[in-house]
Symmetry: C2
Subunit: 454 residues, 2 copies
Amino acid sequence: MSKQKRYFLSEEEIPRQWYNIQAEMPNKPLPMLHPATKQPIKAEDLFPLFAQEVSRQEMDQEHAWIDIPEPVREQYKFYRSTPLVRAYGLEEALGTPAHIYFKNESVSPVGSHKLNSALAQAYYCKQEGVTNITTETGAGQWGSAMSYAAKIFGLEAAVYQVKISYEQKPYRRAIMQSYGAQVTPSPSMSTRAGKDVLTADPNNNGSLGTAISEAVELAMTTPNCKYVLGSVLNHVALHQTIIGLEAEKQMQMAGEYPDIVIGCFGGGSNFSGIAYPFLRHNFTGERNTRFIAAEPASCPKLTRGQFQYDFGDLSGLTPLMPMYTLGHNFMPSNIHAGGLRYHGAGILISQLLKDGFIEAVDVKQTDTFKAGLLFATKEGIIPAPESCHAIAAAIDEAMKCKETGEEKVILFNLSGHGLIDMTAYTQYLSGNLVDYEVSDEEVARNIKELDKII
Amino acid sequence: MSKQKRYFLSEEEIPRQWYNIQAEMPNKPLPMLHPATKQPIKAEDLFPLFAQEVSRQEMDQEHAWIDIPEPVREQYKFYRSTPLVRAYGLEEALGTPAHIYFKNESVSPVGSHKLNSALAQAYYCKQEGVTNITTETGAGQWGSAMSYAAKIFGLEAAVYQVKISYEQKPYRRAIMQSYGAQVTPSPSMSTRAGKDVLTADPNNNGSLGTAISEAVELAMTTPNCKYVLGSVLNHVALHQTIIGLEAEKQMQMAGEYPDIVIGCFGGGSNFSGIAYPFLRHNFTGERNTRFIAAEPASCPKLTRGQFQYDFGDLSGLTPLMPMYTLGHNFMPSNIHAGGLRYHGAGILISQLLKDGFIEAVDVKQTDTFKAGLLFATKEGIIPAPESCHAIAAAIDEAMKCKETGEEKVILFNLSGHGLIDMTAYTQYLSGNLVDYEVSDEEVARNIKELDKII
């Protein structure tokens, strides 16, 4: 009998609750502060911008388990459970005694894990009588997921896409439009924020910061319209725990438990999703799993940033959040891991890193594509540039096992496929990708700016 | 308890044999004829071009079941079983009493069913000491699959990609290159065939016919190099029966049996794959299932072509095959269903159509995209333009059920996803797609040419 490669759950076994790590963290995170008053904010303070239910989830430190609404779980069944895969091909290629598993979130209809939270957020909006949602997207993974979810739950979606991506990634734009979303290149003339940028610089290529400002402004000035966000925030991480909760059951089917859990790291949505459900067993002392967040060397907030209150956006409009940050003015170099270019980490991740529950590593751009191509030729799937960071870190750990002879169990999250990011692979294959590493001076300069905030 | 949406087989349940319909067809197909002698050809006549085992499979009218080699089956486990999905979302949108199921072949690492035969062909080549393979590709689905399979089994792959696709579909080219294939735009200066075209017309955009000629020439002039083909031929259909064999088991899990089985139709690879395993129960009289091949109105060989001996390629180098054809000189209009632009049907399909075992319908281009977008917003997955033909035909049958109130069970094959074909969707959404229908005169003129052949 041959060895099993993929593990699925039956639809009955798909989890019925998300895991809310806030309720069980030994040290609770510091509160978010109002940007003007510098006073802790409450769930109600978020109601004007976000759906009420996700605002409550954002602040919930009481309930460790939160029910997944049945209509959301029904939508999960379109693509979940996602397979847990034993990477025999990769193991053999590396000659490692390690057992490597990956959770394949690339099988979602939009090609990444982002849908897990998009569906939940769209559902809550619909329940609360919201008719329109708005968001921003860079590379387009989140925008695609949100467009899909809005369509499913009967909401109108307006997506501000960073202008350079809008022009360079027409496929992702077309996917959003196919799901019925209105996609606007940002900066645009449809908001005050966009007009201000364009007035000063008519050829501005856009940035995630500007696109956030435009989406937030549209939400605040449109009746029945809410803003939705795809990473960083606690409620997004909550929804993503479906990944790790499934993986835990699937690892049981494989008769193993991970010694190391790895995810790539941008704002934290996919890393939190795979890590938190396993991390809870470290809190109780039952397990001693290592958790590794793999971030780009060009945007190294976890490995080289500072734990401090900072804004979530460039303009300083969001609440102040206690987090590892490179400073909200930090502009990452032109790297391809589109979803990992954010200056800060989520509140929960930051506290967990500070408390020693998780580790972080940074990976150079060319090393990520090298790892991604090896993975593609041994496991078939061409990974998203973001996911390549997790693969590189997993290979690194597997090679350490080869040296020591240890038969460790490594689990990483394949957050998405790269079929719509082939431009980056073409550049790598033609030798046109270079590595960027942030200078110590730049990091220091940006962080120094933070002293003025609080 | 909620209704089950997706059905998977365990790895043990993945079929261990392909179904060879040739052995059980009531009327055997007429033989292929040598293009020069006009005499029936034997398996050995194909050895110079194809692997020996697939040459034997091509002619095998004895064995109804052929073992899937264990290394191929191991590779199938990377993405098989593919899910059988109950399309509740689509049913509800249509308000039909029909039960609609689809087999989701888009989950393969390269995004289509093509890998099912690519892996088998690469394996047999490797077994027989072949070191290099060559093939042609238009839209790039087959080229991607073959590049992947060659890499997995340690063969060097050379792919001739129709030049206009090479330039307009850089993502598919990049996928092939990421799997290590050498991709050459055709016509090229690397073959006599290519040079002839370029000498006469330096700006020639290429055609599938020219690309085939180039690949065949390379195979014939290179030591240890074989040619591989992704459709039309009997052995390709054989390998694709894994689709229908799985679907039959999965339909059993759902407690149903299809009244109607539908596939889009180009050369026949995915239609044969889903249809033949069910069709065998019609031969015995045990079942009376309808089988519908959905082809583009712009390339209507099954609905408007003639059953006659014709060449498989433009230049008349291949064996003569008894088939429904529009004439090998037929040039389909500029439609987006890249994989469905072939002038003829496979030998087996043609005989089965002639004998009344299958039906064919033609679908207009804009109707296919309309159907595809409805599917995308109700079932999540953006379908390949080819697959949209099957969806349109399935919707058509489901709407007939709505009129009659019949609760028929409809099964169609979703041969691939459209994430790398978004340009076509963009054109449709912007109203820039038009319908092409072939004139009766053009069909008659082309078919008249065939009289000269035999």
